[in-house]
Amino acid sequence: LALVVALILLFGNPLIGASGSMVVIASSAIGAGIAVIAGMGPAIGQGYAAGKATEAVGINPRSSKGVTLVMLVGQAVAQTTGILALVISLILLYGNPFASMEGAFIILGASALGAGIAMVGGIGPGIGQGYAAGKAAEATGKRPDQQSNITKIMFLGQAVAQTTGIYALIVSLILMYSNPFL
């Protein structure tokens, strides 16, 4: 309902003497804010990885180097959906494709919102991949000799966990650059 009310207020309010392009840009500002919410995912995951690495280093200080490496590599993977969200947000702010597009302003504005909302899906891969990084760091602390096997399965699992984040990006990019509604 909030969405519908927001839409009506944004696009159908007779009190607003804004031109269509201004409404599109206003929607883009909200979309840019929504997109970066995805960042909560990587942060939760990376924090988990940090905690597990900390635990592993405490238990086996000699494994510190390997554990830290696995943690950082795993965290880097977990960061991706956060970066993608930031990129979409910055595009909406500085390279807004909707500003120059021809079409009904309500479609353009709602597409800007939709592009931002879709990126929120990136929370999941961020948390999950961070969990994987944490467990891999823990396992490396316990069996430093298995670091390469552990890292390999971590990457494999993280790749699988990335897919829904990519789906979200695809939908967002379609709305921005190949909008079928225009």
Partner: protein, 83 residues
């Protein structure tokens, strides 16, 4: 003036975005599986094949609702029955 078709298209764009939020689930779940897989391989490196197979089988099952969300978004975008 906003036409009805334009409103449908606008709300379909938002609906497509909302559907993608489903992707949070598989992302968390499969990442958990990845972590447990890494843990298990660290403990029993000799069981790596079995562990990986079970992990991937379970992760494939966990992917489905993310795919459902993608399908609904794609229908809204490219095969919209309302337009």
């Amino acid at each position: 003036m906003i036409t009805g078709i334009e409103l449908i298209k606008a709300c379909s764009a938002i609906g497509a975005g909302l559907a993608m939020i489903a992707g949070i689930g598989p992302g968390i779940g499969q990442g958990y599986a990845a972590g447990k897989g890494a843990e298990a391989v660290g403990r029993q490196p000799e069981a790596q094949g079995d562990v990986t197979r079970t992990m991937l089988l379970g992760a494939a099952v966990a992917e489905t609702t993310g795919i459902y969300g993608l399908i609904v978004a794609m229908i809204l975008l490219f095969a919209n029955p309302f337009i």
